[in-house]
């Protein structure tokens, strides 16, 4: 057979700098410059630690959302699931302090409960989507209401607070750290790393992208489309649980307001990071950058007193658009 012979052609058409790929990172760099200009304190290690720690919650959730969105789905229920999981975790831990005493065993049980709940919730969402054949948007809109309602019920409309003895034990999980870097940041990094490995290096990750780009092709390629979709939701549930495990020791409480709008933030982080809302192409590192960007914008606005508080939201919105405009605009001009 004749060898295809095109020796004169360069191997990589985009030998230079791939702006589509690097766009989010550039936008992030731009924000960091902006932050430094606004207030030099911005670059202080303490502030950066704060920013990254805050990012951890929605960031971890957004890693999960990257999978769901890559398969072409969407999960609106993550914020309320977080609240519900936090609520149940607190109730369980408070109940166990009596018999077991305030200590690590109770925390561990609490964590297990959170993880279990996250997995089950993901399973429910996933089953309704795959077996029930309902759009993910509607399913998770429904479960969003359900979880939110359940935590309100659990808290009797108020706030569930962790037993103070337990708080002391559990606190370091949020406030502690290693080598000067707070625990949540480590966990976030680990989740992102594992997420990246799963998305880019495993069969499951491949299948997610294949399903999102054309589920018929996936079906004809012997992929169990329903199972992969289901697993993506379960993974999302797990990510929510991990976020909650870090969240509870922060304020030691959960209420009807916990996690409100986290879903929007998580999805925004994913999309800003370059994952396509229609599915088919996911980018974990982009998601991480997207999540950090969103926190940074808040942080920068809090560090300046120049703007009327009323207009914070407008500046935020404008920065999001401009950041993405620059990154995409430049990319498409190539």
């Amino acid at each position: 057979m004749t060898q295809s012979s095109m020796p004169e052609l360069a191997r990589k058409p985009s030998a230079g700098f791939d702006l589509k790929l690097w766009g989010p990172f550039l936008a992030l760099a731009g924000l960091i410059v902006l932050g430094t200009l606004v207030n030099p304190v911005f670059l202080s290690p303490a502030n950066l630690a704060n920013v990254l720690t805050r990012t951890a919650f929605t960031g971890i959730i957004a890693v999960g959302a990257t999978f769901v969105i890559t398969t072409g789905g969407i999960d609106l229920s993550v914020g309320s699931l977080a609240a519900f999981t936090a609520g149940v975790m607190i109730v369980v831990m408070n109940a166990l302090v009596g018999p077991m005493g305030a200590g690590w065993p109770v925390v561990l049980v609490g964590m297990l409960v959170a993880v279990g709940l996250g997995l089950v919730a993901g399973l429910v969402n996933g089953l309704l989507v795959t077996k029930g054949r309902i759009e993910a948007f509607i399913v998770t809109l429904g479960t969003m209401g359900i979880f939110r309602s359940l935590v309100t019920y659990l808290a009797d409309g108020g706030t569930l607070s962790l037993n103070s003895g337990m708080r002391a034990v559990y606190r370091p999980v949020y406030y502690g750290g290693l080598f000067g870097i707070p625990t949540p940041v480590w966990v976030f990094a680990a989740v992102a790393l594992i997420g990246a490995v799963i998305l880019y290096r495993t069969r499951f990750g491949r299948y997610c992208a294949a399903i999102g780009s054309n589920d018929e092709v996936a079906r004809y390629s012997a992929i169990d489309v329903d199972r992969v979709r289901l697993l993506a939701f379960v993974l999302q549930g797990l990510c929510v649980a991990i976020a909650v495990v870090l969240y509870v020791p922060r304020l030691g409480s959960a209420s009807a307001t916990t996690g409100v709008l986290w879903e929007l933030e998580a999805i925004a982080a994913v999309i800003i990071g370059g994952t396509m809302l229609k599915g088919g192409h996911g980018r974990i590192w982009g998601t991480v950058v997207g999540a950090v960007m969103l926190t940074l914008i808040d942080n920068i606005l809090n560090l300046t007193g120049a703007i009327s508080v009323y207009l914070n939201g407008a500046i935020q919105g404008a920065i999001i658009i401009v950041a993405v405009l620059l990154q995409r605009g430049t990319a498409s001009k190539r």
Binding site: A46, G158, V309
Partner: protein
């Protein structure tokens, strides 16, 4: 025997204080229905103004109430819908957030928002000796929030109290925590924090502790959440006082209205619940350990 129906419309439990409100309303419902066998209390909650207006329509047209107790989501937009209820011949009790046309209501039970801002300012002024740097964490952009902040600023005028920064924290713990973290990065010296709301204050406390700057400042919240009252009681130096704005006022309003409905008891037109300053001396009087708030 014909039942007397009392409709109660309040905002849904979307944050701590509103949660307390819901809890007290439910307690009062149970208690009043037991106390007056001929009374039926219909309790509805709404998550925005539009829905609260819908609820009023439903209470009148399909639930057929005789009286309405309402804590309006917001004053101005709810004025007309409440007027419609009044025009349908119902007894109207307004709680907390007054209507723009007070002539509509038969009874008004309220906390005093401007007073709350004023009392808070007076306390901070006095405690700082009339001089110091403070930060303010506001609630949600609403009239209530404006009234409190305006009165607060009016009161510190002329003193040497300087407001370094002011941001919305949406009556939310997480937001309180975040905003305070950033204030702490931005300002090397803060003498006091006016958090205006106990949920925000709880977030602020954590941020201050994390930064290890507890010694530097004190925090003044507001509402009378049990955790905060407890801290005041326990003489926590970080939380030396609190200003009352009790969600329990809904229960009071329901009780007065019910009594009037069933027993035809005569009533005053207005009950104003003062924005009392809670200090270690009087804290035990305001401590309800069983309430969720």
């Amino acid at each position: 025997q014909q039942k007397v129906k009392m409709g109660v419309s309040i905002p849904a439990a979307t944050h701590g204080w509103a949660g307390g409100l819901n809890w007290h309303a439910q307690q009062a419902k149970a208690k009043l229905e037991k106390q007056y066998p001929t009374l039926e209390v219909v309790l509805v909650t709404a998550r925005d103004v539009g829905r609260q207006a819908n609820d009023l329509e439903d209470l009148v047209s399909v639930r057929n109430i005789d009286a309405l107790v309402i804590l309006p989501f917001e004053s101005a937009p709810m004025t007309d819908p409440v007027r419609a209820v009044k025009q349908a011949g119902k007894f109207v009790t307004v709680v907390d957030r007054g209507l723009t046309d007070p002539s509509i209501q038969d009874l008004y039970v309220a906390g005093n928002n401007p007073e709350m801002g004023k009392v808070s300012a007076q306390y901070i002024k006095q405690k700082l000796g009339g001089k110091g740097d403070i930060v303010v964490l506001r609630g949600i952009p609403t009239v209530i929030d404006n009234q409190r902040v305006d009165a607060f600023q009016e009161e510190i005028k002329g003193s040497q109290i300087k407001v370094l920064g002011m941001q919305y924290a949406n009556w939310n713990r997480d937001d309180g925590y975040k905003v305070m973290q950033d204030f702490l990065s931005r300002f090397p010296k803060i003498d006091a924090v006016w958090a205006q709301d106990d949920d925000i204050a709880l977030g602020v406390i954590e941020a201050v502790k994390q930064a290890g700057r507890e010694k530097e400042m004190f925090i003044l919240g507001g509402a009378g959440m049990k955790d905060m009252i407890k801290r005041v009681m326990d003489k926590d130096p970080l939380v030396p006082a609190d200003v009352l704005y009790p969600p329990g006022m809904i229960a009071e309003a329901m009780e007065i209205t019910a009594k009037h409905l069933v027993e035809k008891a005569p009533i005053k037109k207005e009950y104003i619940i003062e924005a009392t300053l809670v200090t270690p001396e009087n804290a035990s009087k305001y401590y309800y350990p069983d309430s969720p708030f």
